[in-house]
Amino acid sequence: MRGFVVQRVPSVSGRVRNAAYAVSALVAVFVAGLLLAALGLHPLALGGSVLKQSLGSRFGVQDLLLLASPLVMCGLSVSLMLRVGLWNIGADGQFYVGAACAAGVALFGPHGSPLLVQITMGLAAMAGGALWIAVPALARLLLGTSEIIATLLLNFVARLGLDWLVTGPWRDPHGMAAAQTARIPDPLPKLPRDWHLGGLHWGLAVVLGLAALLAAAFRFTRWGFELRICGANRDTAAYAGMNVRRRLFQAMLLGGAIAGLGGMLELSGTVHRLQSGLSNGYGYVGIIVAVLAASSPLGCVFTGLLMALVLNAGLVLQTQGVPSSAALALTGLILLFAAIGERLAHYRIVPTRPVAGAGGVA
């Protein structure tokens, strides 16, 4: 007879952790399916139609990619700050401010060459996003104020500010809708037609390029290395002569800028006008994207697609009479299970009786 004990190990490999996240997400979807079955729906059929709508046609895939783009951008923003051990719960607000800055440039700025306009919009959005996180960042680094709550509170401020803009001074004077601006004159161009991705715009390339750039920066540059050390152990980083506070500040500003750029891409590429509810909670979903990706930039691309699929499930549920907010509940469930699963992966089962000698008299 062999006994077993459950042992806790202090740290696990990336592979084990990723597997734990994958299993947790699957379990969360399974539990959600059970809940839907309890409501009298058919979860398997629903799941099938989600997959069919999202992946079964070229349109579906295009929509999925369009939905995933802002999620990946917010995920990159959150993951960059997670790398240095800080939480960005305010990606939603930075996204809004970025979009608003870009819209301001597009609607009221000079009309130059389209490329120049896009670049100006992008820079304005990044500046806006960085500015939006600057106060929480300074409060965190100089005063020790919790960046979690500070960044989050500004989401509400940003949302109210955007609502004011689109219903007040920037409201479309000729439009019928109450809460949107006019269409921006030069939106982001679509991808070339012979790539057979007709509905997609160049923002997608920006998203992928940025993810690759960040991954490379973390792996190959001194700056990225210092960020990683600052996240792993701030005392070690300071002892090694790194300017920890400056690195943290840079990471926070850049995180805000990335979320802001996400807002610009959504505005200029997909929606083409500023409107209230431009971000459908993308900043919050971005947290899950970053966590499931274990804050790896390239992983964010993958988990962003995954979460886009989950949000699509909300749309499919809506056709079945379940409010689309059910998708929000599902994202919460996935996050909860992922957090638990990550911990459970730290346990292993080992036999109690040591194997005697090399011969193994078991």
Binding site: R8, W87, I89, V135, P136, A139, L142, L143, G144, T145, S146, I148, I149, A150, L152, L153, L154, F156, V157, L160, G161, D163, W164, G168, Y284, I287, V291, V322, P323, S325, A326, A327, L328, A329, L330, T331, G332, L333, I334, L335, L336, A338, A339, I340, E342, R343, L344
Partner: protein
């Protein structure tokens, strides 16, 4: 009602939501668990209270439903953070998203309708006839008295005047030492996280049966997060939480007044006030040089016996 009296009354009513939510959060944080799910708990409580009164027309049933829902969701959160020891930040975010999503989904039949029952006004005899203050302070419903007097009084007594409270505070500071002298660290943490979650959900019940009073998606409007911030800058003390809640209630009430009297400030900016004032107050202790507020030392840290 005079302007002052109306302002004060409104401040009490909207402050009561924050006070209840904050006092619930205080219990969890004092035993060392950071519960960032207050917003979700409030949404769940608010929705289940409205759902319960729609059938029974009794606000007491609504409160019980909210407390039970909060305790159930709190148990899930406590299982994740105390037993499985998962990241408290992540589980809190998950509770917020899941709670808001679930409340919006299940609460859709009731959305936008006035609540079927609300808390009756409970005037305090004699005191309610005081000029100015009488109307504002002593003509409120029961939850307001609970939020501003009964619950903080009880929690202050519990935390600072009883041996049990000493144990609770010690668990938030140094669970290993508590474990060594035989206190039940994990069961106590679990119990008080659940109790706190129930109270926070009760704040949601007061929101939809007293303050607003109706359920709609997003009715909590970040009040749960303001409550979390409130606990921090109140230095984890019940009476200061209540005072802070009154202050925030006052800021909110000023916004309503400005809107009603049309002072020419767009309502969006007035709506921003509570969040901005919260942000300012979070920074204030450090700005005024009083240093960082002493949080429970083990706040947010999972306890493992083998890591002592």
């Amino acid at each position: 009602m005079s302007v002052v009296s109306g302002l004060l009354s409104n401040a009490l009513v909207s402050g009561a939501v924050l006070a209840l939510a904050g006092l619930g959060e205080l219990l969890a944080e004092r035993v060392g668990v950071l519960n960032l799910g207050v917003e979700g708990l409030m949404a769940l409580g608010a929705m289940s209270a409205v759902a319960a009164v729609s059938g029974t027309h009794d606000p007491a049933v609504g409160v019980l439903a909210a407390l039970a829902t909060g305790a159930a969701a709190g148990s899930l959160f406590a299982f994740a953070t105390v037993v499985a020891r998962a990241s408290q930040v992540l589980c809190g975010m998950a509770l917020t998203m899941g709670g808001m999503g679930l409340a919006a989904t299940l609460g859709r039949p009731f959305a936008g309708q006035p609540s079927a029952a609300t808390f009756p006004v409970l005037p305090i005899p004699l005191l309610d006839r005081l000029p100015v203050l009488g109307d504002a302070l002593f003509r409120q419903s029961l939850p307001v008295y609970v939020a501003f007097l009964i619950l903080p009084l009880f929690l202050h007594w519990l935390l600072f005047r009883t041996r049990h409270g000493l144990a609770l505070r010690a668990i938030g500071e140094n669970p290993a030492a508590c474990d060594a002298v035989g206190m039940k660290v994990l069961p106590l943490r679990f119990a008080y996280v659940v109790l706190g979650a129930a109270i926070s959900a009760g704040a949601g019940a007061y929101l939809t049966l007293g303050f607003v009073p109706s359920w709609s998606d997003g009715v909590t409007a970040g009040r749960g997060w303001i409550a979390v911030a409130l606990v921090i800058f109140a230095g984890y003390r019940p009476w200061r939480i209540v005072a802070g809640a009154l202050l925030f209630g006052f800021v909110g009430a000023l916004g309503y007044l400005a809107q009603a009297r049309d002072w020419g400030i767009p309502s969006a900016f007035l709506g921003m006030l509570p969040y901005l004032v919260t942000l300012l107050f979070m920074m204030l202790p450090a700005l005024t040089g009083r240093g960082r507020v002493a949080a429970p030392a083990a706040l947010g840290v999972a306890y493992y016996r083998d890591q002592r």
